[in-house]
Symmetry: C2
Subunit: 421 residues, 2 copies
């Protein structure tokens, strides 16, 4: 599929994340001070909430769905509404659209816009579904012989995360305190995390409720779109707390998502299959078609006041399990899924050293620090570091991007209880 | 504190769960077909939503908070409002209240009322905080030498559960399907759970938002009240899936709570201390006062069409960590907590065999089946079994109860995908 041309000239550049083929969904603080829904087009945002308020959107819904400035109510309308809306907006923004002049009044420059959370996260689940990542981390935590748990090739391993900790790109992240136990210490101390890390992931956003188990094909239909996701991780807290019931406070400080939800429809041309199975999957996990996506990903790290170094480059197609498989597994027990559920893919690591999606792996637990362009080295994140994830699917003369997923590490508080402890 | 007498005569019986000293909060389907907030008093429910609609409640809130028929908005008003409201309702229902006759029109018999979820569960966290339970389960899963994980005496171990699976007492629970791997099998199968179990717990309901770490004292202030909680557990799914990231689908079928939230104020006379520390706690976990409660608990099991046998009797004071400690730990990483968060205490097991809060422990993994009064035995739950948790704090001539927390096990579906798989 070639570039679809828009009357918004900046959307026709091969270098924009947001051509007419994309139409990702975000929320921003509008001039009236309220949260508005918007769609990115080139360097601009089309103000969807304002268009709806003026009666310029023909949505088949009984009430205004964009009034509250996030996409939750729209998602609840379901796949047929998503497709009809996409067609409407595509026509409105296409080159030669008859009402381009009138619509131009609803464009806001992205450069001026403060982005907000694009949806209310109902619940957040994080998975562990890149074989390279699982093998690397398993080797460090449990030794090479026990690297890949026995269930890993059968189950898309996941755990429930904390929805309240999900923030939008641009939010600073405060280094957490927690219980840390040095390998040679008998007892833990309560202190600021020393091994603060990122995790490069994709996030799938569930756009439909379910009751009872769903098939992989049905799960794919339920997914509204995808975001970039950085699951900030406190490795020293994690190492001490995670047995036997899994990560808890190590993963609860923050999870950052990109401001733009790329609709599944925009990614359809980039579908690709999961890799060959090393163990035959149980029938309920088999995919009726290709459900991963060819999305090139990278992580940039910029120390305070210094230029950025790209420390990892990988691709979403490296995953062993797709989000649709993960969602189908999530429902096996009868677990009800809800509009606004967020599924983290798990850290995405490729086979090469430079393709690893976490500092833990890149610097191999601190043994092989990563050298930045500035000459500094990193085993884990330092205060003042800004992390930026980027991702795009490359089409013929256009690309489908997510915008930047960025966050800066603030130093730990001197006293997390502000003298109240 | 003695019994406070009410003009609702059934509230003065020593056998009621709901004397004037209690005033627990629930939601029920009212005659108008809508969800209403209610307060249990003896055998009746005082219709709070109707009273508010008629302007008969003087709440210091800008808008109606009971309109939607659950307690979420009221909880958000905070501890001062909780106390003022409690005083108001106590005066309204006290013996000799001047407007008793008028108020009687707002009483609904509990026997006629269909109870609903009393609040919207924001997020659900389950803990693992009874030392007897942790030791018993650890022995079975990991052997006696590794029974209690090294971190257990330092951390109130918890994991995030699935809020969407929390249901109110009276909801049937369908036996789940899942991945099961027999100890001697090489590969798992996808089949109905064979080791379906209960977990006897208390649930603490967070009534205030937080940002950043809170102290144990602040955490106690944030708790609105307590419920009984049954965390239905699929032990065979759990055994195969839970390493390395914790329980997931094994705990996602359903968690049942009692219909009545007992306010913290009603439990205040029954506060008791956590047991002596076997390892000194880090300062952030130390309690400024007694934060457990002396609440007698029991589990009844009734096979289909047969009478109930009480299979376990224990007490909430058996816990090693209080809910306030758990909540304080939950915030250490900066994890934001929200109105409506539900914290499961973890299974409550006493030291004696008959005081164990799960069939897994009572029947020791199937090796010592429990004999019911009917002569049947149970290692795990059978289809048609009805489980009922009960709990009460015993005062001087009155008791503070929660109502029954009950659910019946329905057989697994023949095909969970209804032919769509």
């Amino acid at each position: 599929m070639p570039l679809k041309r828009s009357w918004v000239e900046s959307a026709n550049s091969p270098d924009t994340d947001f051509p007419l083929n994309n139409l990702p969904c975000g929320s921003f603080r509008a001039a009236d001070g309220e949260a508005h829904c918007g769609i990115a087009i080139g360097e601009m945002i089309l103000d969807i909430t304002a268009l709806e308020a003026e009666g310029l959107l023909s949505l088949d819904a009984e009430e205004e769905v964009f009034f509250f400035g996030d996409w939750t109510e729209f998602m609840a309308l379901g796949p047929a509404a998503w497709a009809a809306f996409r067609e409407t907006v595509t026509e409105m923004l296409a080159e030669g659209a008859p009402d381009a002049e009138g619509l131009a009044a609803y464009l806001v420059p992205q450069a001026d816009a403060k982005m907000l959370m694009p949806f209310a996260v109902s619940e957040y689940t994080d998975f562990y579904a890149s074989k390279n990542h699982a093998t690397n981390v398993g080797t460090m935590f449990r030794g090479a012989e026990n690297a890949l748990p026995p269930n890993w090739l059968s189950i898309p391993i996941g755990y429930n995360g904390r929805a309240s900790s999900v923030v939008v790109s641009g939010t600073d992240v405060r280094r957490p305190w927690g219980q840390l136990k040095a390998p040679d210490a008998e007892l833990p101390v309560f202190a600021p995390c020393k091994r603060f890390d990122l995790e490069l992931e994709m996030g799938a956003i569930v756009g439909q409720d379910s009751e009872g188990p769903v098939t992989v094909g049905e799960a794919d239909e339920m997914i509204f779109g995808y975001v970039l996701l950085n699951d900030w991780s406190a490795r020293d807290i994690q190492a001490w707390e995670y047995q036997p019931l899994g990560p808890f406070q190590a993963k609860a400080t923050a999870t950052t998502i990109s401001p733009w939800i790329v609709p599944k429809a925009a990614l359809d041309p980039f579908r690709t299959t999961t890799p060959e199975r090393e163990r035959e999957l149980l029938p309920y996990l088999r995919e009726p078609g290709p459900m991963l996506y060819d999305i090139q990903l990278e992580v940039g790290l910029a120390p305070e006041g210094k230029p950025e170094t790209v420390i990892a480059r990988t691709n979403y197609r490296e995953m062993y399990y797709s989000s649709a498989q993960q969602l189908a597994h999530h429902t096996t027990s009868g677990c009800p899924m809800s509009v606004g559920d967020l599924l983290g893919s798990g850290t995405i690591s490729g086979p090469d050293k430079g393709a690893r999606g976490a500092l833990l792996e890149l610097a191999w637990g601190g043994k092989e620090p990563v050298t930045l362009d500035s000459g500094e080295t990193r085993s884990f994140l330092e205060d003042g570091d800004t992390l930026t994830l980027r991702g795009a699917a490359q089409g013929d003369g256009y690309r489908i991007g997510f915008g930047e997923c960025t966050g800066k590490v603030l130093p730990a508080l001197d006293d997390p209880y502000g003298g109240r402890g």
